[in-house]
Amino acid sequence: MVLVADLLTDANLTANYFANDVYIHGTLELGLLENRRGDRLLALPNTLIRAIYAGLDHETGQASMLVLYNCGRWWGKNFYIRFCEELSDYHNRPVTSLSMAEFMQALQQCWLTHGWGQISLDSTYRAQGFLVLKIRASAFIEDAPKLDRPVGFLETGVLQSFFSQLSGQTLHCVQTDCESLGAEENCFVLGLKERLVVAEAGVEQRLSHAEIMAALVE
């Protein structure tokens, strides 16, 4: 028999940790925006993002793509650690005890609340060893310079290191579709590096996400 009182003793009832109206706080008189743990948050103006792209392009040219990708990887590494810390503190149990769906729900809500867009996981190709992540309304791609290739360098890096740590394997990430090229959403494929060579080639040849995925699982 289930006793309701027992369910209410151990900890608070946990729900949607990253819900936007409780996650973001501020001590505005001190000029501080904070998350619900008191870590500092920052509102990034679009013009600053555009300025970073322009400045990098001016100083490093072609290499700016690589710089951004590496920044993304660095960001992803730290983001993963913090994300797991916050979640396990809140739920009072290790993140590994959450199901993949619960984990992804938290990631989706976190992404939304920070204003980075809508992220979702497509696990159609999971059995074949590929994870597909899709991001709509990306904040970073919207302001990126228009090139004739996908430009989600930051996200490519962040997803690669986030999911590498989550899976315990060194994964590689390739962006196969991009809002800057008129796609409805940005698609990213994650998998082992040697198996993603085909995807890199597909991007060079301007194949669509669907075509690239078909070539990958062939």
């Binding site: 289930v2 006793l3 309701v4 729900a15 949607n16 109206d21 769906a101 729900q105 809500q109």
Partner: protein, 157 residues
């Protein structure tokens, strides 16, 4: 739907003008009902554990057997009730819907709580309509139903 707390609905821009007669009317109405809202909230707070336990005990045996789903469903039902109670208190009927919408449908799918959720929440509404006065239940109902809607927004059929 602008269903935020009345004080948030008022635009609070004194540099523009005083509140309109209509805004003051809405505020007046809210303040007038506040005693009733606090009373209802206090009752729900006192009743919670026994009320929910009573509903759980009346569930069919096969639903009670699936402990994992049932425990999760109980937590979800309590959250719905708590958010509804607070939403009623501060006149923000969408509070629970807003806070739980990115979360509750996923949990219903992951923990397969649909059957227990439907039974518990149906019984909860019936019980509350009996325990509360007509006017109290009318205050609570919009917030309660708005949060319960999320139980039916899941991907599973």
């Amino acid at each position: 739907m602008t269903s935020q707390h009345i004080l948030q609905q008022l635009e609070r821009q004194p540099d523009r003008n005083y509140l309109t007669a209509q805004e003051l009317g809405a505020l007046n109405q809210y303040v007038g009902s506040l005693g009733e809202r606090v009373r209802t909230y206090r009752q729900l707070r006192e009743w919670e554990v026994n009320l929910i336990q009573g509903l759980v005990d009346q569930l069919p045996v096969e639903v009670q057997k699936d402990t994992r789903a049932l425990e999760q469903s109980i937590k979800q039902t309590i959250l719905i009730l708590r958010y509804a109670a607070l939403g009623m208190l501060v006149d923000d009927a969408n509070l629970g819907h807003r806070r739980l919408e990115g979360w509750l449908p996923t949990m219903v799918t992951v923990y397969q709580t649909h059957t227990a959720d439907v039974l518990l929440n149906r019984a909860l509404n019936q019980q509350l309509s009996r325990l509360l006065s007509l006017s109290q239940f009318a205050l609570l109902k919009p917030a309660l139903e708005s949060a319960q809607q999320l139980l039916h927004n899941t991907s599973q059929d």
